[in-house]
Amino acid sequence: MSFLKKSPWILHYAATSCNGCDIELLACLTPLYDVERFGIVNTGNPKHADIFLVTGSVNEESRKVVENLYAQMPDPKAVVAIGACALSGGIFRDAYNVYGGIDQVIPVDVYVPGCAARPESIIDGIVQALAILEERARDRKRQRKVVAS
């Protein structure tokens, strides 16, 4: 079993979001939902993070930041897009400055719908990302063995 499942550290970035999803995401850390029960910690540092949570319809300014943060995270890692804007651009989809979805910029593993996404569905999204993360950890272990031999 991988210990990634027992201690997923998250990194949260708001890529031009209206902050609705961000507030719901931070609500997960409050006593009502208390995701630290599952060992989930909001790190705020890409080099310590395992799961990247992105909200908002990404634009040119935030694209650089999203790419940079994703590149700085050590493998194995997973990405969760949260909210309608992060999935497809939402109501801003037709705006000229918007890319329309995080998957236009970096590979996304789990999509959490909603405007704003409910804390319950965000936690569910993270739990689904854990399964993907565990699989990646196995692959990574195999890769390391191949490199070593």
Partner: protein, 286 residues
């Protein structure tokens, strides 16, 4: 130096990090309960470190790993000397060298966040180091020896004679454990102005080394605290030391972070007020 002392010292090397991890786990649970949350499992710090070994290690410079091994090595040495019942002063110096190695690791990565973190760490060392020396000096004046085994076998009145020094030590314990209001260099909590301070650029197994080092440090600091009450015997001294240790969690949860200048001034004022005064009064009360 008999078999018992060697046994204790070897037990520290093997079981010290486990005890430190349990202390850290209990700390996180207590913190959660104080915020009316359920909190993580007791063994969460161990899960965290085992996970970090599964992650890739992003290396900025190969020196960082060397420095971190230095940090861990001298931490173990410091605890080994302490639990062997040997020279308290030597244990203190090893602890300081270990702290310097952590600062060097953070400086070597060149990230502005970890650079500011290690500058602040050095400043905190400047703040708490005089008090640590006074603690060792106080023990020497009471027990007539720097040897830990002599201090443990000392007078039962030693904690009364060293009461001011105990208060000063509890004050700087907050700094050593990186608790609010003194978690300037690296905070346990995310979303602070320094990202993660000294550990910003450390990842994977490098970060795991830092965590294991902190587990050892927890055990060593609990050992120092225990020394004040040691002549009363384990059954009485250990519970008192543990209660005082976890009083730091309450302080952590009820205080906001201070600025560095205030921290330095406050620590030196406390050192002067309690530590130096106690030291000067000591000839009158021994």
């Amino acid at each position: 130096m008999n078999v018992e002392h060697w046994g204790l010292a070897v037990a520290f090397v093997v079981l010290g990090p486990l005890l430190g991890a349990l202390l850290a786990g209990l700390d996180r649970r207590l913190t959660a309960r104080m915020q009316s949350r359920q909190g993580p499992p007791l063994l969460q710090p161990i899960y965290d470190v085992l996970k970090l070994f599964e992650k890739d290690t992003v290396v900025v410079t190969e020196l960082q790993t060397l420095y971190l091994w230095g940090f861990l090595f001298f931490m173990v040495i410091s605890g080994f000397i302490l639990f062997l019942g040997s020279d308290l002063l030597l244990s203190l110096f090893a602890l300081t060298v270990s702290g310097i190695f952590l600062c060097l690791a953070a400086y070597s990565t060149n990230s502005p966040y970890s650079n500011i973190g290690s500058s602040r760490e050095l400043l905190l060392m400047m703040a708490y180091e005089p008090m640590l020396i006074i603690v060792a000096l106080g023990f020497f004046l009471v027990a007539d020896s720097f040897r830990v085994s002599d201090i443990v076998a000392g007078s039962p009145w030693q904690v009364v004679q060293l009461f001011g020094i105990l208060l000063g030590f509890l004050f700087i314990l907050t700094i050593k454990l990186r608790k609010s209001p003194f978690d300037l260099s690296s905070s346990h909590h995310g979303h602070q102005e320094l990202v993660k301070g000294i550990t910003t650029d450390l990842s994977g197994s490098d970060l795991a080394l830092v965590e294991i080092g902190h587990w050892y440090e927890n055990t060593i600091l609990l050992g120092w605290l225990y020394l004040f009450f040691a002549p009363w015997g384990v059954a009485l001294a250990l519970p008192i030391a543990l209660v005082l240790f976890f009083a730091e969690v309450l302080v952590d949860n009820t205080h906001a972070r201070l600025k560095w200048a205030t921290t330095l001034k406050a620590t030196w004022v406390v050192t002067g007020l309690f530590g130096v005064t106690n030291l000067m009064l000591l000839p009158l009360i021994t």
